[in-house]
Symmetry: C2
Subunit: 344 residues, 2 copies
DNA sequence: TTGTACGCGTTATCAC
DNA sequence: GTGATAACGCGTACAA
């Protein structure tokens, strides 16, 4: 009696112990109704006894399907992406899929490499953030016919299904709110625009509305920051040093806004009396800052769940054009009328 | 000339195009120095031309190694776990590993099921949170000889390597701080204790120090909450309704503390003059609340990176007993002396 | 150095 | 219903 060499027992061991053939054992486990009750019973008992666990790799090899989805995010620890990921995983897990996740930290060449790696692993589908990706990568995905989904954005969409929202229109709403409060001098703390259509779309939304009111946004008023709280602090100091002092600071992310807000307070300013500050995302902590942050609410939870459905349908060959989600203005305490001006 | 059926080209296609055998092609790609330069060149060109991507499943099958690590977290969106996950992924990715992550939402039976699924997938190693797990699961892991790592806690450790810290000692420090400020009536907002040795250890740390000062913690002063901000709000209201009004609220998590703090402010209390509030974790937003939160600082980043190293070493058969990390008291504005009492 | 042949663990296709 | 057997795509002894 030869023992299995790697501790793990194989289907053939189960079959042998149950006194049936390999084929019957396989069928008993995968399609119980296609086998006689006594056979089923014997196989189940043997499997239990050997604590048999099917080998997913072998199965994937022959089935051409791994029940695995890959996700490539900018980062995993930004609260909005963490939320998204959590619910994406929940949705996928319920459907029997596992999620392989990775982060490119806003480096497109890293993203391409990570996707490459996921393709090797044989993921059944791919979830990406944004619509701006390496061109070669996109055509590879198309050629290989591997189902994929773009999320967080419907801006600058060129092809493929998206589950996201219009960052541009969302930012327009927020800008309109500031304009109505009388703000004319606006500075923007933005993430880098390269390879990031969300950053571009958000900025474009601001420019749109300002232009509509005959205002322009001088280039020096757009301050490029890294995506963390500290960068927000630094950005605010830069904004205050601008030749024409801004009455409002628009941050393209709540994390940046959190940093900017705390730095403003730290410098002795009163928000919003001295200066208004806005965010984007409405992370859970936005409402707990003081003053609570005026921002754009995005439902990362819904996006995650919808994305899990969408990618699964795509895998099943179900044509699915994605979904356009909402992103609404949430007015809180960090914005107010310009000092000495009336609300228009 | 038969075309590959699934769009994807196989190694045999590469070999054919390069005019060499399967073996040579394989060697050229995996062990370039074991093949003559012209052969190498030909194979590389052919692979490039066919945009050949090795099939990870087939490779894993024969190599008995998937270059994949599984992680099962409580949730992916709690900021501390999100941070941990991010840096765990970074560390693993650098070493060529992919990370499959999932969340059990504090349900141990779900955790067991998720681990089961990961084992089927053939992960090379497993990263778990905490030391309290299903007994059957642990013995399975031991029997199967699959490398695994416990994180976030060295409390109640029974076996296996940990990368974590003593939740109990950390909470002792925090409690000592409150006692020194004169607090005697303390209420605790805690997560459920079942299947969670971190929650137990944190509570034990409080009880330890109180006992040392001849104080006891009545059962009704321990309020069990879910792990989210809203639960913190609700918990604070319960705490205020206690027969003996607490002068300090200790929350076992920053998220709970954030909720409790905001509710206290909302109810018109002044923190810390009317009541002191503490957290645990020191998430990025803890210092931005008002008042900023007194808490225990835990470096999720370091824990993530160290964990990636530890699990990889474990896979390589390198004996590695894990690491005990620090967790230090950070005193900020949310704690102060009891009204009318001197600091002892 | 190179080619051949076998094995990895599973599912699917056939005859029986 | 069941049992042999051929795939799935790759790595690697072994022989040449």
């Amino acid at each position: 009696m030869e023992l299995p060499r790697h501790g793990r027992s194989r289907l053939s061991d189960v079959a042998k112990l149950a006194g049936v053939s390999l084929g019957s054992a396989s069928r008993a486990l995968n399609n119980p109704s296609s086998v006689r009750p006594p056979t089923l019973e014997a196989v189940r008992k043997a499997a239990e006894q050997l604590s048999y666990v099917p080998d997913g790799n072998a199965r994937s090899l022959v089935l051409r399907r791994s029940n695995t989805i890959g996700a490539v995010m900018p980062t995993l620890n930004n609260p909005v992406y963490a939320d998204f990921l959590h619910f994406l995983q929940q949705g996928l897990s319920e459907a029997g899929y596992s999620l392989i996740c990775s982060a490119h930290e806003y480096d497109q060449s890293v993203e391409t490499l990570l996707v490459e790696r996921l393709l090797q692993r044989g993921v059944d589908g791919l979830v990406l953030v944004g619509t701006d990706h390496d061109e070669a990568l996109l055509s590879r995905l198309g050629l290989a016919g591997i189902p994929h989904l773009f999320t967080w954005s419907t801006d600058e969409r060129s092809r493929g299904a998206c589950v996201g929202f219009s960052n541009r229109r969302a930012m327009q709403k927020l800008t309109r709110h500031l304009i109505e409060l009388g703000h004319r001098e606006i500075a923007v703390l933005s993430g880098a625009q390269t390879h990031n259509e969300r950053a571009r779309a958000r900025l474009a939304g601001i420019v749109d509305v300002m232009a509509l009111h005959g205002l322009d946004l001088p280039p020096e008023n757009v301050i490029t920051c890294r995506f963390d709280i500290e960068a927000g602090r630094k950005g605010l100091r830069e904004a205050l040093a601008l030749p024409r002092a801004p009455t409002a600071i628009m941050c393209t992310t709540d994390m940046l806004a959190a940093g900017a807000l705390s730095e403003a307070i730290h410098l002795g300013l009163t928000v919003p009396a001295d200066i208004s500050i806005t965010g984007f995302d409405d992370i859970a902590y936005a409402q707990m800052l003081s003053p609570p942050l005026t921002t754009i609410h995005v439902s990362a939870r819904e996006m995650g769940l919808r994305s899990s459905e969408a990618i699964i349908r795509a895998i099943h060959g179900d044509p699915h054009e994605g979904a356009e989600l909402g992103a609404e203005l949430v007015v809180r305490g960090s914005t107010g009328p310009v000092r000495g001006k009336q609300q228009s």
